[in-house]
């Protein structure tokens, strides 16, 4: 009951966000590249459902396209984390105790030791503010998360007898990693993936908020919040709407992750910080 409820609510929220993002490719209520300064700062109304911003742009349309930005940044960042972290983790586990394992794990520790936000700020400050650099900055910090998770999941699998059986069948370590280990840590990765995905959305919002994320004219929820900040006192909807959008997406993903975990394997432990 609890399971299906988490899955259902999370799935619904995620669906709404993803649908809005996809729909925005073909349709938004208004063209947000057009400024309509005389109609700026309208409260939510029948014409502009979520009101208009300080340039008179339709907030509903911006939220839709902002969803696209958030999702894209988070997906690619998690993709980087998984794409590099999972093979590293598999590799480290397959050669446990060896110098490769040692280097990979110490390197991971080192990345963990850096305050991620500060480094993300540094990276974007050094390389210039852009969505791509935000992705890289967020992605780098996803690598150790997935590497550690994969390694610890894989390590316990390497002790299992079916892996020994595969080795007796003469299969090489990389092959066993791909054939036996990876599918068995997949659940773990999927669940952690949704969590990292939601953290990615939060991180993107944070970076955009300090002006280091996606650049205008591409709308981003974080930047909408930053733009809204000086106007909260007389136009609170400017801050409320993108804030709630972030909460919706993150909440949806977290619930989905919890639901998936319960569905796939209740023993999975996710790391959140």
């Amino acid at each position: 009951m609890i399971r299906s409820r988490n899955l259902f609510i999370g799935g619904t929220l995620c669906f709404v966000v993803v649908a809005a993002a996809l729909l925005s490719f073909v349709w938004t209520p208004y063209d947000i590249t057009q400024m309509d300064i005389p109609n700026k700062l309208q409260k939510p109304n029948g014409i502009h459902w979520f009101g208009t911003d300080h340039f008179g742009r339709d907030i509903f349309s911006m939220i839709m396209i902002g969803a696209r930005t958030s999702l894209a940044v988070a997906i690619v960042a998690v993709g980087i984390g998984m794409g590099l972290g999972v093979p590293l983790g598999l590799w480290a586990a397959a050669n446990k105790g060896g110098w490769i394992d040692e280097i990979i794990m110490r390197g991971n520790d080192l990345i963990f030791a850096f305050p991620s936000l500060v480094i993300a700020i540094l990276i974007t400050a050094v390389m210039g503010a852009s969505a791509l650099n935000a992705i890289i900055a967020i992605g780098i910090f996803n690598i150790p998360v997935f590497a550690r998770l994969t390694r610890s999941g894989a390590l316990s699998l390497w002790e299992r007898e079916f892996i020994l059986a595969a080795r007796v069948a003469g299969k090489s370590k990389p092959r066993i990693s791909a054939e036996h280990i990876l599918p068995n840590v997949a659940n773990l990765l999927i669940v952690q993936g949704t969590i990292q995905f939601s953290l990615g959305i939060l991180a993107e919002a944070g970076l955009s908020y300090v002006g280091l994320g996606a650049q205008p004219p591409t709308p981003s929820w974080g930047r909408m919040l930053a733009d809204a900040q000086t106007m909260v006192s007389f136009a609170p909807h400017l801050a409320l709407v993108p804030g709630l959008a972030i909460v919706t997406a993150v909440l949806g993903l977290n619930l989905l992750g919890d639901g998936l975990r319960d569905l796939l394997d209740p023993k999975i432990r996710v790391v959140r910080s």
């Binding site: 007898e161 079916f162 059986a165 595969a166 007796v168 003469g170 036996h180």
Partner: protein, 531 residues
């Protein structure tokens, strides 16, 4: 009045009925053994007496301790009884103790909750109790933590905790399953002494009939949540009324019909002065690495068609040796040759295909995501041109039939099989490429007695039909005795004795072998005739 009387106890958890109409009683000073196969409801019966049942459990009937009906008591009243009137010892000594508290504190706690002793007095009593269970404080200070003790010592702490207040009833749920035979014998002796000394009633749960046969006054046999038979030990063994009891007993002492070993003098496996070290974690950053020698200078030979046993306590290096023979891990010195070629991590597939293995764990030996067909054909990887299409199907069908399964089973997933069936699949996987030597590493240790008997028969049959040689590893002497021609006895990485199985068992030479054989519980011969 009996000490404990259980009347028509029925228990259900959610929609599942776990216990049905269980009735028995225990007198003061009496040892009652509850036995039966895994899942038969032994532990649930014990937890019902403790009233420590899972949340959704509902029970009916009566459980009376000295006339008080435990089912009608409130939770605080029950708390006052637990630990005071009833003590309990659990199976797993490794996890039954709180890892972050000293053993002294944990034993004292029982005393402090139930009496108004001062901590100093309680400590004194804890000291006494620990001495009583064989942990004198001058050698085992109260300030030790559980991880600083061996399994058997921890089990003693758990017992000390349970008997600290001399409860009227002691429940021991498989207290020795996790221990070595020698340690097991010590713990059982200790329990017997305590019962005699304190006049406690002991409810002793075990699935090992041999364990109970020489200590229990009475035996209760359970199956599917019901008591099928109970009675005074000697009488029960002499005259087993229920067919299940008989089957259980017969399976426990099962002897297989092993064909004669062919006189093939050609050796197929030669282990010469093998040494295997594990590096220990560094103690200091740049300290030289220390090593743990798990296999120390082992030499033996297996000839064509020979069935060799390897016995020894947990941790003596049996599995390590297995992995070295399979060429999964390198040796630090010495050599292993199979069929005249050196074995090692870099050995060629053809050589590897002559050696296969069956592991202990029927649940962990398979990738749960693969179908049986894929699992059993995994060793085909070793063949230069593996069969495909119908040839492959035929090979699968043959292998499955050989282990008593149906060819259709190839399309099922592993979770659709019982433990015994899984172990058959594991054997099928080992057989499919027709190896000359199979290593059984504790291949039957996790199985229930009746299933174990079937698998042992299967192994004997295969030895006949496939002319197999095998190395059979186990810590269970009775099993090794029936399925091997020759036996190796291993202790701390070394082979201390080897020779003809019958010879070694009837006339052990090495002191270690002697203690091992002496400690192993044996079934009384009385039942033999009845079976």
């Amino acid at each position: 009045m009996s000490l404990l009387t259980v009347d028509n106890l029925s228990l259900s958890i959610g929609d599942f009925s776990i216990l049905r109409d269980v009735s028995f009683s225990i007198e003061p000073g009496e040892i009652v053994a509850v036995t039966g196969e895994s899942g038969s409801g032994k532990s649930m019966t014990a937890f019902s007496v403790m009233q420590l049942l899972p949340e959704r459990a509902k029970s009916t009937g009566q459980i009376r301790l000295e006339g008080k009906d435990l089912l009608s008591l409130s939770e605080p009243q029950l708390c006052a009884i637990r630990g005071n009137d009833i003590g309990m010892v659990f199976q797993e000594p490794m996890t039954a103790l709180n890892p972050v508290k000293t053993i002294g504190a944990q034993v004292m706690e029982t005393i402090l909750i139930h009496t108004d002793m001062t901590p100093a007095q309680a400590e004194e009593q804890a000291r006494d109790m620990l001495t009583r269970v064989g942990l004198p404080p001058d050698r085992f200070p109260l300030s030790r933590y559980p991880h600083e003790l061996s399994g058997g010592q921890r089990q003693r702490v758990v017992i000390a905790m349970a008997i600290a207040l001399r409860p009227k009833l002691l429940i021991a749920d498989e207290p020795t399953t996790a221990l070595d035979v020698t340690t097991q014998a010590q713990i059982l002796d200790l329990l017997k002494e305590l019962v005699a000394e304190f006049g406690m009633g002991l409810m002793m749960i075990t699935h090992d009939l041999a364990v109970v046969s020489d200590m229990a006054d009475r035996i209760i046999v359970m199956r599917h949540g019901e008591i099928v038979e109970q009675g005074e030990t000697r009488a029960l063994f002499a005259d087993m009324k229920h067919p299940y009891t008989r089957a259980l007993f017969e399976a426990s002492g099962h002897q297989v019909d092993l064909p004669d070993a062919p006189d093939g003098p050609d050796p197929i496996l030669q282990v010469t002065n093998a040494i295997r070290d594990y590096p220990l974690p560094r103690t200091r950053l740049f300290a030289p690495r220390e090593h743990h020698r798990a296999v120390n200078d082992i030499t033996f030979t297996i000839h064509h068609g020979e069935r060799v046993g390897l016995v020894g306590e947990s941790g003596c290096g049996k599995s390590t040796l297995t992995r070295a023979i399979l060429g999964l891990e390198p040796l630090q010195s010495g050599s292993i040759t199979a069929f005249g070629h050196t074995v090692g991590p870099a050995m060629n597939p053809a050589l590897r295909s002559g050696l296969q293995v069956v592991f202990q764990d029927p649940y962990g030996s398979f990738n749960p995501r693969h179908k049986v067909a894929r699992i059993v054909t995994e060793p085909f990887h070793l063949l230069p041109d593996p069969p495909t299409g119908t040839a492959r199907d035929t090979a699968i069908a043959e292998a499955l039939t050989a282990v008593g399964l149906k060819p259709e089973d190839a399309q099922k997933y592993i979770h659709e099989f019982s433990g015994g069936q899984r172990q058959r699949i594991a054997i099928a996987r080992a057989l499919i490429i027709r190896p000359e030597l199979i290593i059984f590493d504790e291949a039957v240790s996790a199985l229930d007695v009746s299933i174990r008997a079937q698998i042992l028969d299967l192994i004997a049959d295969l030895s006949r039909s496939h002319n197999l040689s095998y190395l059979f590893i186990s810590h269970d002497l009775s099993v090794v005795r029936t399925v091997t021609d020759r036996v190796l006895v291993m202790k701390s990485g070394e082979i201390v004795e080897q020779g003809d199985t019958k010879e070694v068992f009837s006339n052990p030479q090495h002191p270690y072998t002697q203690t091992l054989i002496a400690a192993a519980p044996v079934l009384p011969q009385v039942g033999k005739g009845a079976a």
